[in-house]
Amino acid sequence: MNISTEISDRKLKQRLLKDKIFTNVMIFLAFLSGVPLFLILYQLAVKGYRQFNISFFFEEAPDTMQAMIANANNEIIPGGIANGIIGTLIIVGLASLIAIPIGIICGTYLAENAEGKFAGLVRFIVDMLQGVPSIVLGVIGYIWIVKPVTNGFSALAGSVALSIMMLPSIVRSTEETLKMIPGTLKEAALSLGVPYHKVILKVILPTGISGILTGVILGISRIAGETAPLMLTALGSTVVNTDITKPTSAVPLLVWEFYNDPNLVNMIWSASLFLLLLILVLNLSAKAIAKKWKVQY
């Protein structure tokens, strides 16, 4: 009797110990996953802040010679990333201009046709588009636009590639948001004799605006840091360019160029820091919008 309680006692202790070890290991591993984030932020901040000055935002990227001289004299590399910032604004802006209306309309279509074979097919295709690797979309942008339309690398080609990339997240967030709006709202408007399209445009879409906006901003933040598709489409440019049919730079492209040029290597940190801050701000504002203007009824 004594022995058996002793054994079960030991077994219980073992089980409790196992439980404790498991819990602690889990907590440790969960937080260990966050360490790279802080290491990256720290590295960018420490190495990048020195370059953050007025000229960084308003001057074009320096060439290798200028950077070499500055490095030799132990000075801060002159110039900035204005060509990248303006390029990113143009490319991302144009991509949004293409993707946002199409995405919202398609999301509305899917929300309004929850069942139905064709809507199911469209939903499936949007899901599949979400998974297409960005580099493949770069190839598509090259074949569709660079070769036949702009006859050379161009911002337009980059925008087309990125617009396909951001479409799925806009479509899905629009659909999810509109689905949450109670049918009574729509029925009330319809019963007053309001035509269907006005019900959608004036009642349903405004009610869901916060969810749609969140999806749009997340879509933008998803494409703002993309490098690979732009390498095959927009290519990059050393000067500020506002012609969408010409090669154009972008901040992530500049990071890549700086990385490949030993003289300019000191510029990568500030350019990356800028890119990361931009995406952070986009993400945080998406979160804030989602929190503040939750669909209410």
Partner: protein
């Protein structure tokens, strides 16, 4: 009445446009790879020779297919303990409070870091570390890329898992507790069997992400065109090969690269489809 009709056409039209985009992508890749397919046939898939030198041009995709699968599967294996811990932490152990919302933000931010920035960090921090540990001479290679990929896919691998774990019915867990089970035993015998397929679906979708990643891998894998002999060897992935060589490519090489793009598209398509299929079975 007229604008009513236009509006309805517009809604359906946007759906048709989605179909056209998808069909267009597939058709474009197919047509673009025809010359390469005519030249190499199915041998393209299992030939290991990538030789762009003029006169004896020969292209095979095998080193890159192997490189892609090796890096992404290794990344998934590395990411598993971390992603699973996060899923459990957020889905079961600590659902509300300051710490979990902090962890949630951290995971969200990890998803927001651009690939090229991960590449930089990998190049300046991880690569020297790998070299220091003596795993390989310069720190480049499959293993280094996989570690970076593993960090990059943590958010994708953990978020679906957290969701399904939090949906495991409380009554099941309570029944196990009432029988004297410890929390670990509940996790092992109730939560994992219940939420397992959802967790698995999350990993499959994360695998799809890893397969298509380009920049971070390009900067770390060493870009060799040979079949890798081990996980510490240099290698190359399909996405990274396209990024490196597309710009200067012409003629046969260009179509070979487009065919690589097609293969990449098909592989990610299959992986994502499997993931969605598991998720669908789950919700049904």
């Amino acid at each position: 009445m007229n604008s009513e009709k236009i509006f309805r056409y517009l809604l359906v039209g946007s759906g048709v446009l989605m179909v056209l985009i998808a069909v267009g992508i597939v058709a474009t890749l197919f047509v673009g790879s025809i010359p390469s397919f005519k030249e190499f046939g199915f041998g393209f898939l299992y030939s290991a020779d990538w030789d762009p030198s003029e006169g004896r041009e020969n292209y095979g995709a095998l080193p890159f297919i192997i490189g892609t699968l090796l890096t992404s599967i290794l990344a998934l294996i590395i990411t598993f303990p971390f992603a699973f811990s996060i899923s459990l932490f957020l889905g079961e152990y600590f659902k509300d409070g300051v710490l979990p919302s902090f962890l949630r933000s951290v995971v969200d931010l990890l998803a927001g870091i651009p690939s090229v920035v991960y590449g930089l960090w990998g190049f300046y921090t991880l690569k020297p570390l790998v070299a220091e540990l003596g795993l390989n001479a310069q720190g480049f290679g499959i293993f280094t890329s996989s570690v970076i990929l593993a960090i990059m896919i943590i958010p994708y691998a953990s978020s679906l898992g957290a969701e399904v774990i939090s949906m495991v019915p409380g009554s099941l867990k309570e029944a196990a507790y009432s029988l004297g089970a410890t929390r670990y035993e509940v996790v092992r015998n109730v939560i994992v069997p219940n939420a397992g397929s959802g967790i698995f679906a999350g990993y499959i979708l994360a695998l799809g992400r890893a397969i298509g990643e380009t920049m971070a891998v390009t900067m770390l894998i060493g870009n060799s065109n040979e079949i890798p002999t081990g996980i510490f060897d240099l290698g190359n992935t399909m996405a990274s090969l396209i990024a490196n060589q597309f710009g200067e490519a012409e003629g046969l090489k260009l179509t070979a690269l487009i065919e690589i793009g097609l293969i990449l598209f098909v592989i990610t398509g299959i992986v994502n489809y499997l993931g969605k299929l598991i998720m669908k079975k789950l919700s049904a």
